[in-house]
Symmetry: C2
Subunit: 331 residues, 2 copies
């Protein structure tokens, strides 16, 4: 059983996973590296993963057999487990709870493709639809108050399987960064009476210099204070607090913009490792006037050094205006 | 001229460096990799660095020539520059200022050694003494309110030169993480009337299971909510808010514990890449009852994936109790 422990200084929760305890020398090689050999996510190898919990598959095909377009399975090495109680308790000045949660893998295609950028638009629409479906299904479990949807592509970005997939981790606590984003935007809202993200969108449209793509419903831009070269955010133009409430029409528009942005990044940066994470409002907030869900895409081009770890103060060698310029000009 | 830009959501300042602007393809290879060829930090190659701003050197030897034990130079590619005014200003809803600061490199030995762990204890004492001297010298410039001392060892930790060295960046603003640590400990102090770090030290001594080393003046332990395997913190036992006020006696004790801890990490993990960062109170706070300076040492064994970026919520596969056990048992 893993454990959630809270850093008393910062209020940050850490998952201490005790199930994969190894001898120290095992850590000399980065623990997350792409596994070689038969791909567990390809069609025909369904028995290499835990059984599917959800699929989009052709009629009259059997579960855990070929015939699927998207397949959702539990993570074989879950960071958190679904069985048990939280058992929140103190440990002197420290706080802990059991590592309760869910950890699912969304396999985006039966074919061996290595990035979402290689899918066609209708497949990306289905991927986003599955994100929505799984979040809505798992949030029925009231122990969970946050669902984190993310994607690791390439070894540098922490992927351990090459075949394109996303992950969903359901948490019994709100991650520190989301809590801080909610606090920052709440302060702004209390002061100005407007959503900070909506204000950013207005200024970005006005300025135009940091826009990567835009359609009727979404905008992709390189943020003013980008931490990383070519960091790109995608936001719905109209205020929405919870990703899982996305409409069918918005799924169509998001798929087009997400696919387009990733294809631009892959073309200009020669298929970089990248991560994206969906930032959305916790389930215990019914609807929020000040928090605006969005996707943060981070190409992993530079190493993060001691300075960044120690300070949360980043050095970015590519101004977002230049990055957006390059991206706009790329097919 | 680089620029400091503030993320309006989180209040995090980013350095946008425009002087090394490159074509996108240049970013395909991680920008920080160890440079091959003649070592610019070895004795005899003094002309390969900017001129020295401080040295410990033998009497009657000339500046920028051999004869030194420790040599401080400006960073050849500084993230911030010392000339100019801050020119704080708004940009619509965003905030910016000029990239004013100082960025120095502390070359710890004239010989080509690749980690502080390879120095002898008297050399480590001198390194810590130089940290103190440079901080006290540079804090006279009232534009600076924080001095960040850190070390990158190995390519994975972001080092671009192999020869053992530390860096000092003087900032016109307090980094977000330090600000948060100060806030968290202030809240605790207001509630309990005690320093949270002092409480942690008491509990760690009581529990004993996470202690790595201890002497009369300092303790090294793996924190309860360690983000990374073998993360180790070093704290003065007696409350002290500002590192730069460290006494001569404490320098002796810190040198012994810092060297011992790094040698243990290097022995058990087979010379890993690592970072350390000194967390200390900003200069604009005269003395603090609640913030306790300390050193955070992070071996870089695992990759940080999308989950961590998106949430500030880490998964650590080695419980700190196990890490401390291994470290205690190692010479």
């Amino acid at each position: 059983m893993s454990e959630l422990r809270k850093d008393p200084i910062l209020g940050r929760w850490i998952i201490i996973s005790t199930e994969r305890a190894s001898r120290p020398k095992d850590f000399v090689i980065p623990v997350r590296s792409i596994k070689k050999g038969t791909c567990p996510f390809c069609s025909g190898n369904e028995d290499m993963t835990p059984p599917e919990v959800f699929t989009l598959r052709a009629p009259q095909t059997e579960p855990n057999k070929p015939g699927w377009r998207i397949r959702v399975v539990s993570n074989k090495y879950p960071a958190l487990r679904i069985e048990g109680n939280l058992d929140k308790m103190g440990d002197g000045i420290y706080d802990r709870m059991n590592g309760i949660g869910a950890h699912e893998v969304i396999i985006e295609t039966p074919e061996h493709k290595t990035s979402l950028g290689a899918l066609d638009e209708s497949a990306v629409r289905e991927v986003i639809g599955v994100y929505k479906t799984r979040l809505n299904e798992l949030k029925k479990d009231t122990r969970f108050i946050f669902g984190m949807l993310f994607k690791n592509v390439g070894e540098i970005a922490g992927a351990s399987v090459e075949h394109t997939h996303s992950q969903l981790i359901m948490l019994p606590t709100v991650p520190k960064l989301i809590k801080e984003e909610m606090l920052g935007t709440e302060i702004f809202y209390n002061y100005r009476g407007r959503c900070l993200f909506c204000d950013m969108i207005r200024q970005e449209i006005n300025t135009a210099s940091r826009i990567v793509m835009k359609n009727d419903k979404f905008i992709a831009f390189c943020p003013y204070a980008s931490r990383f070269p070519f960091e790109t955010w995608i936001l719905p133009l109209k205020h929405e607090s919870h990703f899982e409430n996305i409409s069918a029409k918005n799924i169509v528009n998001l798929a087009r913009l997400l696919l387009g942005t990733i294809q631009k990044l892959e073309s200009i940066l020669d298929k970089p490792s990248y991560n994206y994470v969906i930032h959305t409002t916790p389930f215990n907030v019914e609807s929020s006037e000040y928090y605006h869900w969005h996707i943060e895409i981070i190409p992993r081009l530079t190493r993060v050094a001691g300075f960044e770890w120690g300070t949360d103060f980043y050095i970015n060698t590519v101004p977002p205006e230049n990055a957006a310029d390059y991206l706009r000009d790329t097919k």
